[in-house]
Symmetry: C2
Subunit: 458 residues, 2 copies
């Protein structure tokens, strides 16, 4: 029992406590303490710790304990952080770190972390078989099933018995530990079906594979997008799935843990993109490059803010006469922005899940216009009352209410049309949807409020 | 081959095309067409289709084809949509739909979808063993490992041979198809270790389980949070993992597909919460309830917008004299809001990943202040130049620059301090962080710009 107790503790020790310990040990350059803290961790946990250290500490850790850097750790780290670290490493350390990794993981590393030179050097240092396997993966487009697959699957023929397979497996060196499925192929390596390890165990030795294999097993096309792969895994509750090209040849297998990484990446993208950050952004990256990356988005925002200012500037004469308008003006823009963001977020998620189709697009637009109108009228009423009590000016109250209703209607329209249009133009709505939307609600909000005031109050 | 071809096609037929087809068939009340479209789909895919239909269509579909509703479909559907649908169903239909589900899935349904009455009725309709199993899960807190686990794991003793286990398995009815691991327990059901099916196959019949089992297998505590469970699965690349209580008794197993659902839920929450929406919000829910749910967030935003207006109102006299201030005012608030949101998003993600620890909090604060200062100075310079060229007023340009730098500094501080404080107060920063932050940047932005103008220009 004591063994399990120990493991349980190790697993439930919060990452941030380990980070604190390691950080202290690094500043004391206390090698044994670092070793003791890191030894119970597997590559994934080590990566969590690395992600939580400022860049300088990461570098020092690698200097103190170069063996810490298993290629697996790099894979589990945030991409931004891993890229930073790899840039500091020489070709030999990198080669050593990746020697024990399976080829699908190396492909991921090549794809996401290594700069072109390092990737070439690494490929050059490999033996022919390993290089060819990796080059097969790399021959498919980025973010497709072909890139995700492992080419180390165990294949068997359908005309052999369970016993033969079992004998074959026992002689096989390096059976991937995550094997749950044997792939059945013909002489030409064409996919015939699959048989799970559970099925093998449940059937007597003399059973023919052709009698127990599942020949209706669904396969993935190597050109399928990562997101479709993820959705298939979720829908089928698979542990792994075979990749088969359109001529029916078996290429490799995709394993669920790689799919989880994909789901995480897409989730991170959905969270980070709306504030103009890459999903690989590293919280603990050094100051200067971080500031530079973020300033790009600030520049874009500045352009849209000046656009809004320019609209306000059109009504300087009006503002000069009724200064209360300047006080109330941000309310119209802000409420429109929030209402629009709600619709936008729902629409972007619906697009990502493939829920938005020709048949329901119009239904959705009508529904969102309805919500915009209802909430617009409700909150315009509230806002008008408050504004009237504040400024004792009926005209301002009415103009404010009308502008707010109009802006919330436009916000609903923009919340649907902006992402659908960007999606059709193959621009990622998660990245640019929010900017376009708030520009629309700012411009329309200011224009409607100050414009109506110019017409009806002056 | 033709079989596989068919399956490949079925899997790559985009969900939105199926949605269009079904939607047309429903409006024509064409039962055979619906059946033909739904038959190749598994419960996960059916759920994707259901999620993409407006509520009325969903209801009509169930009326036309009541058998469509397998409990599994409800589980794979968006929660909001599933809840809507269940509210329309009678107890019998529900019982039928859940009969074939395994207990862990029923627990998820009880937890997330069923209203209390329906849950009680469903539990009441079950046989004793099934009910007891479910009640064991329900005895643990929501969102813990104890709720996620399946209690149907196959356990074996360590002093038996591989052959005995194999014979035992062949006699066992209802072996869960997702079994990849056998759990080794003692006579009292205390966890001793685990042995994978692969290990079983690779060893000769006479091998003792004790010789091949992994007795250092990591276990999960039933009170662990879902998120810690997810992180463990990601770090270890597990297919399934045993749940063991603190006295060492084996309780059940968690399977990776349930972990994927958890990861999805948390990702959805991270996307939806910042705009005040529940992650279960259904894009195709009817108008009125949707409008109601969203108006809550609009009300909160209105309060903060009025707070900003009130701050502006304090400076009415200033605005009356220098109306250009009203034109430039939104720029300060907008740039602060963006800079703060970037820091906030990174911090919330860092908190969720457990990266933020005592040792790096101060480092992070210093870094973000540095970024705020750098970007503040850079963009203040740009903004001042443009404002000077526009209004030919040096004082306004200087005040604008100073206010913008100050607001971007405050934004950086708030971007760290707001989520850390909310987190410490056990308030979800993903939900309320953005509101608090933009309130701070709005108020500080207007106060700084108009305040400095009042002091230095009038």
């Amino acid at each position: 029992m004591s063994d399990n107790k120990k493991s349980e503790q190790a697993i439930s020790a919060p990452i941030n406590e380990t980070i604190d310990g390691i950080s202290r040990a690094i500043s004391e350059r206390n090698k044994p303490a670092i070793e003791q803290l890191l030894s119970p961790l597997n590559p994934g946990e080590t990566a969590d710790v690395m992600d939580g250290l400022p860049t300088d500490d990461r570098r020092q850790l690698i200097e103190l304990l170069p063996d810490t850097l298993d290629g697996e750790v790099l894979l589990h780290m945030g991409e931004g952080a891993a890229i930073e670290l790899v840039e500091e490493m020489d070709a030999d350390t990198l080669q050593q770190a990746t020697e024990a990794m399976d080829t699908a993981d190396v492909v991921e590393l090549l794809d996401e972390v290594l700069p072109t030179d390092a990737a070439k050097a690494l490929l050059g240092s490999m033996d022919k078989q390993r290089r060819e396997r990796i080059e097969l993966n790399l021959s498919f487009d980025e973010h497709t099933a072909g890139r995700l697959m492992h080419t180390d699957a165990i294949t068997v023929r359908e005309n052999v018995t369970v016993e033969t397979v079992q004998r074959y497996l026992r002689q096989y060196e390096n059976i991937p530990q995550d094997t749950t499925l044997l792939i059945v192929v013909d002489r030409e390596n064409r996919f015939k079906g699959a048989v799970s390890l559970l099925t093998l165990i449940l059937h007597p030795c003399e059973t023919l594979i052709s009698d127990v294999m599942d020949d209706d097993w669904r396969t993935l096309d190597p050109n399928m997008s990562e997101q479709e792969v993820a959705r298939s895994f979720e829908n089928h509750d698979w542990f792994s799935a075979p990749v088969v090209d359109k001529d029916g040849y078996f290429l490799g297998r995709i394993v669920v843990d790689d799919v989880i990484d994909t789901i995480r990446d897409h989730a991170d993208h959905a969270i980070m993109a709306p504030v103009g950050l890459d999903e690989d952004e590293d919280l603990f990256a050094p100051l200067l490059p971080s500031a530079g990356r973020r300033s790009v988005w600030l520049a874009l925002n500045l352009a849209t803010a000046f656009l809004a200012s320019w609209v306000i500037g059109l009504f300087e004469a009006t503002l000069e006469k009724v200064v209360a308008l300047a006080v109330l003006m941000p309310i119209v823009a802000s409420m429109g922005g929030i209402a629009g963001s709600q619709t936008l977020t729902l629409t972007i998620r619906g697009l990502a899940m493939g829920q938005i189709a020709d048949s329901n697009r119009l239904w959705l637009l009508r529904k969102e216009i309805g919500i915009g109108l209802l909430n617009g009228l409700l909150w315009s009423f509230v806002v008008s009352i408050i504004a009237y009590l504040w400024f004792k000016n009926q005209q301002i109250a009415i103009v404010l209410g009308a502008a707010l209703t109009l802006n919330m209607l436009v916000a609903a329209l923009a919340g649907i049309i902006v992402p659908l249009t960007l999606h059709r133009m193959k621009i990622d709505p998660a990245l640019s949807g929010a900017v376009v939307l708030t520009t629309v609600t700012d411009v329309v909000g200011f224009m409607a409020f100050l414009g109506l005031a110019t017409i009806f109050i002056l």
